[in-house]
Amino acid sequence: MSDLTRLSAASLSKMISSRELSAVEVTTAHLDRIAAVEDRVHAFLHVDAEGALDAARRVDAGEITGPLAGVPIAVKDVVTTKGVPTTAASKILEGWKPPYDATIVERLKQAGMPILGKTNMDEFAMGSSTEYSAYGATNNPWDLGRIPGGSGGGSAAAIAAYEAPLAIGTDTGGSIRQPGAVTGTVGAKPTYGGTSRYGLIAFSSSLDTPGPCGRTVEDTALLHAVMAGHDPRDSTSINQPVPDVVAAARLGKNGDLSGVKLGVVKEFAGDGSEPGVLNSFKESLEALVKLGAEIVEVSCPHFEYALPAYYLIAPSEASSNLARFDGVRYGLRTGDDGSRSLEEVMSLTREAGFGPEVKRRIILGTYALSSGYYDAYYGQAQKVRTLITRDFQSAFEQVDVLVSPTTPFVAFPFGSRTSDPYQMYLADLFTIPTNLYGGPAISVPCGLSEGLPVGFQIMAPTMADDRMYRVAAALESAVGSFTPPEL
């Protein structure tokens, strides 16, 4: 039965709707797979077998139909699920059960998708390796001694290890795409505002974007279509029709990219990457040219300031977003023994509840917003953000999409980048500009470097998410997919 876990979401969906398979069978197979491999992968923080099977039974009873009805899914632990623990991988929220579902979770449930559980991540989505999870790191199914990327390493690893066919991620600076790249899976960051943030525990409000993770481009597009769309509870949500990403992915599959102009970002196509990564990227470009695409070199001169700007904007917003974790209303409370003042209890709670990277960013953000420093840091970073947006806009006057490697290096060994935060931050060098601009981007597997997956990033203009799916599906059809060794 474990073969079921190797099937694509598209195939599972067809077989469930034709009654070749029951949704309960499919969910059970994935729960069995989770039970079999979790001791080695540790992709999940919480498995909700009962909830998932209940949802599957409702599909089998014919209560819910739809494109992904009965196809199970894993949800990153930063997204609220009613009655199911949601911790954002932080001690400060240990045991917290939200009284409400995130909008995207509501949509999964309405679509009849059984939710297998909550996936591991860097605490509050701050990190690129899951090493900052308060509950231990996730191991990369390709090499259990290496990181699965972050922050959404749990979601990517769960898919790569066949524990789930699909997963929800969130991308603030690359947290969907970089884990996708280093686990050989597909991860898409939709247009900011294209997917609702209501129920996504905020890290950086102006950057956070929930998105789909899958093993194929088409699967990812199917999930994208289920979760996207306007939400009146998120005022930054865009009230426009969702681009038809599924049709675009199917169009791309036929392998014809005639007339499509790909812009290679000059600043991201050189020395910054490992040779193996660069090599796969160049081979992919050649493959795309063979499909009829035209390659244009494009300069985005302000992209080099994206990383420093991001590390001012994101921590600034985080310092404010994370202020609510004070032990007063929910989650951890430390030191409330009757002898301490409220301020002391708040302070002890935050000291005990937050991990080192979260504290580092809260302190950084608090400093950047301080009076006297605001203009030099936060204000300046916002100006850079505007310049990066203009780089994108002028690039998209010349080309249809921009391309680059997703991340400069393949999955690295645990502990190799934790001593120097900057080395860790470099993992998001190529993904961050998109978040600052607000457009969509996707990472699709494009090759192996020393036996480890390499990701190819495609960036599109805002609300043109369909374009990147088309190119990604074409590339996928040209280079094939990549299967990790048996666990």
Partner: protein
Amino acid sequence: MTYDEILTKYEPVIGLETHVELGTRTKMFCGCKTDFGAEPNTQVCPVCLALPGALPVANRAGIEATIRIGLALNCDIAEWCRMARKNYFYPDMPKNFQTSQYDEPLCTDGYVDVTVNGTEYRIGIERVHLEEDTGKTLHVGGATGRIHGATESLVDYNRAGIPLVEIVTKPVPGLGALAPEIAKAYVAELRDIVRSLGVSDVRMEQGSMRCDVNTSLNLPGEEWGTRTETKNVNSLRSVERAVRSEIIRQAAILDDGGKIFQETRHFQETTGDTRPGRSKETATDYRYFPEPDLVPIAPDPAWVASLRESLPEKPSVKRARLREDWGISEVDMQSVTNAGAVELIEETIAAGASPAGARKWWMGELARRANELDVDLAEVGATPAQVAALQKLVDAGKLNDKLARQVLEGVVAGEGDPADVMAARGLEVVNDTGALTKAVDDAIAANPEIAAKIRDGKVAAAGALVGAVMKTTRGQADAKAVRELLLERLGVS
């Protein structure tokens, strides 16, 4: 130094920051109700409790009310502005930041004209901005109900997220000894303007309008002095007292060669002076930045124009018009305004009472009663319709003044409409001629000597017999009617 002596030496500069709680049906950033006095934590949701993942959505009615206040205060309305986060930790503030406005307020640069002692003063308005209220903390277990000594603190989040509008004046110099009175007149005018818009009940004693008063003193020709900010100023009278006491306190320090420190002080209702609060020098750095969870506010100019056109008559214009209609003096009109009786009297007249009659009840018996009960006149327990009905009973001769007061007492006590109270208490003027004739005849029979005098033409002696009749009818007879009947029975009319 006396107050007047101080003002010959120093020049005060005042400034006022007023918070008005909007009367929107739902909170500013979520759909929770805003009913006053509900059970604690029954009007809350993930958004106003700041549960992880919850997001705000701005209430259009709150934005509209703010713009209307801005327009009524002659402000410019921003074409584009943003909300901002004001970051500080406080247990009754769920997010540990307040969603407010910082350097991009919705309304700027307006003014309010107020009249004191016949002279008009223009108070500049610096800004009008929109923000949200916090919850309320209750400290339990201590002797005083204050945080010190309390064993537990309970937080009620019902108020958290209710829209607040902050109205900040420009610094106002040059008012001299009248500064306290003008400050009070400004707040009263502001209250009337906001009330006329129907966007808040502006009740200072219930906290739906709260005032902070900034005061400084300087010697003539010198720079403005260091200002203090006085909080907890919760009535019109307190505004005046707070400014006055702060002028006196600061003058004493300056005269002693001392320095004024920039600080927050608290007005003491009982003593009428101010006491130090949190020092501004150690004040938090609020780390304001634009609220990324909300889209910018860009009011459509056509919408703003329509709001401007639909503004109600200005209270000052309306007062002038009513003063004319009612035929009363400026001083009388001012007391009507100060008593919060303008609309009540207006509605009473509309319900059929004469202007004099309507004003008499509201400014007399009912104002006295409201004062006793320490409530707003509107809350005293009588409606304009009831007062009008009462006055009609008087005009119809069914009640005399004394009886009408007793009926009103019953109305205020909740016994029903004037006619019901009159019937239930048996207070109607005795107009039954038979009963009255008998009472008159009895009085004549009991006082033959007086009756004889009257028959002899000493009509002035009738008073004694009228008094006797009034006594036997327990005041329920109409004295004038009694007199006429008496003279008739004695054959002298």
